[in-house]
């Protein structure tokens, strides 16, 4: 394998010859997703995103760009913000994976970030929303009182095409217990 080519990019994009020689087909992986242990049979080339969506029926994380340039597939892996389209499910074994579905409390109540997104209408079509919610949660986990500039920076890996950013910033400020950006009278 050439230097600089990751295992993921090699396996994910492997062509005809590799496909024929890659081996035994489906493999069983043990994942811990939203606190629950799951065993699924997957193709070794499956990304974490595909596995969550197709095999775990957790479709909150979305495939939009499939190359880590939009953030729609964001999940937390051991608390760290990860684009799940860029990680093999095999590599997530032994890690704690948290998806947007997993932020909902045991009592069914949404996380503070989710509640603030609802309050400030920080979404329109909603397709990017799970990614933004996860990215915002990842930020607040390490920086409980971010400035507006820090919020913009932390969310810079996410794209919203409908244009909900203004309300997303306010939702993150609200979720961190800070005053939202107000418009004059």
């Amino acid at each position: 394998m050439a230097e600089g080519v990751s295992r993921r990019s090699f396996i994910k994009t492997a062509g005809l010859s590799a496909a024929a020689t890659m081996g035994p087909g489906m493999v069983e992986v043990a994942l811990t997703v939203n606190g629950a242990a799951r065993k699924v049979k997957i193709d070794p080339a499956a990304t974490l995103l595909e596995t969550l969506r197709v095999d775990c029926n957790l479709t909150g994380a979305k495939e939009v760009c499939d190359r880590a340039s939009c953030g729609a597939c964001s999940v937390l892996v051991d608390g760290k913000l990860v684009c799940s389209c860029m990680m093999l499910a095999l590599d997530a074994q032994g890690c704690a994976v948290t998806t947007v579905e997993g932020l909902v409390g045991a009592d069914g109540k949404p996380d503070a970030v989710q509640a603030a997104f609802i309050k400030h209408d920080a979404l329109q079509c909603g397709f990017c929303t799970p990614g933004f919610v996860i990215a915002a949660r990842a930020l607040l986990n390490v920086n409980p009182k971010p400035t507006l500039a820090e919020i913009k920076g932390a969310l810079a890996g996410n794209i919203c095409r409908c244009g909900a950013y203004t309300n997303i910033f306010n939702a993150v400020l609200e979720a961190s217990g800070q005053a939202v950006v107000a418009d004059g009278g």
Partner: protein, 701 residues
Amino acid sequence: MATTTPTMNRPMNLGASAADHLDRVDALAKVTGAAKYGRDRYLPGSLFAALIRCPWGSAELLSDNAAEVGKLAGVVEIKISRREGTYHGRDVGYVLADSVVALKRAMNALKLEWKRREVKTRIEDTVKEPPAINEDAKKVLDAAAKKLSAVYSTPVQTHSSLETHGCVVDHRGDSATVYASTQGTFAFRDGLDEALKLKGSDFEIVCEYVGGGFGSKLGGPGKEGLNAARISAARGKPVYLFVNREEEHLDTGNRPSSMTFAELAFENDGTITGGQILTFGGVGVARGGGGCDVPSGRYNFGDLRRAHTDVSFNAGGPRAMRAPGKPQGAFAEELMLDEVALACNVDPLELRMRLARSGNHKEMMKAGAKLIGWANRIPTGTQTGTIRRGMGVGLCSWGLFPARAEGEVVIYRDGSVEARTGTQDIGTGQRTIMGVVAAEAVGINPDEVRCSIGSSKLPVGPGSGGSVTAPNTAPPMRAAALDAKNKLLTIIAKELNVEASALEIVKGEVLRGGQRVMSFKDACQRITGDSITGRSDAAKVDTSGKGHSDGVQFVELSVDTETGVIHLHNVVALQSCGRVLARKTAESQIIGGVIQGLSYALFEQRVLDRVTGAMVNANLESYKILGPKDMPHITPVLWSKGQTKVCSLGEPPVIPTAGAVACAVLNAIGAPVRSLPITPAKVLAALAGVGGKKNEDGGAR
């Protein structure tokens, strides 16, 4: 069920609607990942399909290894049905596999040998010289005190819906369910009967959530839907076919490019006496659809000659995109007004106050000028620092168009209420406003109404295009709710031995002469069957189509004259939309329109290789869309005074933004950038043209 959580950060909009603090009713489903989009429907036993595409602007397929790839594990079928393409992304066949991974592996393994042919990729490949000036226009120009001769151009903008085009078709022999990502539930149904070999009533289009569309998902099932339907019908299995990001850029429509050749005559005070405006639309392989709306009719342009021509070349064709034809026209129009103002040494806002035809626009300009602080605007061409500030302004307008829509409101014995319309919600808040309208007419709170939308089995409704959904679905939904309420009150009136007209429902209580008779829930228990259904009567619903939505936007920015980088600071967007139904979702529509307009102004452009015709930035890292860090502060102002009729809102806020940005850049640097997107390179070139600093080698810095 919806929740109501007050927000007080936009005090000027408080009181705009009857449901100021109502949250979007499907927000909870969207923030928790529970909302199921078409792309989220993985049915047991599904087959996965992808379209094979021509990789060049024009090419002939010489050979393929389909037979070899077809033998790979998991590959079900490879079909190549065409052996040439006349644009990058033209579908020539499909691959079918039994898993996502097998499909990707097969697509990667597929080797196609193409012979490229010569291509055209731009309007300029056909329009090589400025068009001639009409004789009549020449007379006006010859008599003018001052003249402007300028060419304005805009690039192709792709819709870039985050949920790509496609659907899941589950054909079960004598029936089918289609989970579609569409802006037109009923158009999707009407285009699919032949491919499914079923009658429209034998299958259902389900579209509960749509991940964006912006116009590109209006035109029926498209090639994605037709292919999935045919394959599912033939194989009797569910078929999942969603295009990938690259294909979404290439072959699902776009806002066409434009060129505007302006020859304007004007007086010393800026009064425009006429001239000629010729526009060209770049429509790819399409033959039309490239309109460029300038002059818009919002300003007085005097005695003007006007013509438009669409130009074809080797690229994917256009589709309606949020306010089709309008932003490209408004960009040219607003910038030429500022150029006229500069030539006459007149404040561009003052010039607009004189040239604008609508009193509403003038009033909005006055109000917006105060909010942005126009009095602090620095006159154009007077700044010398590295960082220079600029302000710009632009106008928009949108009409009201009729569309067929019906509604149903069901009141159940258990006291619950359901509003039903087949129309989809692409993010506008359609589901929310249906609840608001039904609740108000019945006399209960909006969060007590459940809204069922996005199914071809529900009452017919329009596609989400032209901003027709709210204006056309609100009146029938109101009529249906009133019908249901009257049926309920008739039951109660009989029991009380009074006329139904003597009763009313207010805030969940049945009243007679202002006195409480019983609760709404108690009243519902007197329903004899399971429920009563109120229906709209199409003949009684006002679809006169009269109504207008106006808007004015102000942009404040600064330009770094060393780097050419533009920093956006503030946008004030005033927008009328008739009667506002739900404040929060209405504000979001305005903010979203502005952001798409800013993105169009500064970043977005489809780049085609001029030799091969291939799009070189068909992804989201080099097809740049405005992101969080690029964001200015945006103030959405709902201009709703005294409005009673529901008017359009989705389309107009995207219209004036790019023009206002271009005017602000001119104000800052003293030279116009007449081509979108306004990149740092173009800013530096414009600066160099007006005596900006030069590098030692003579190039612009």
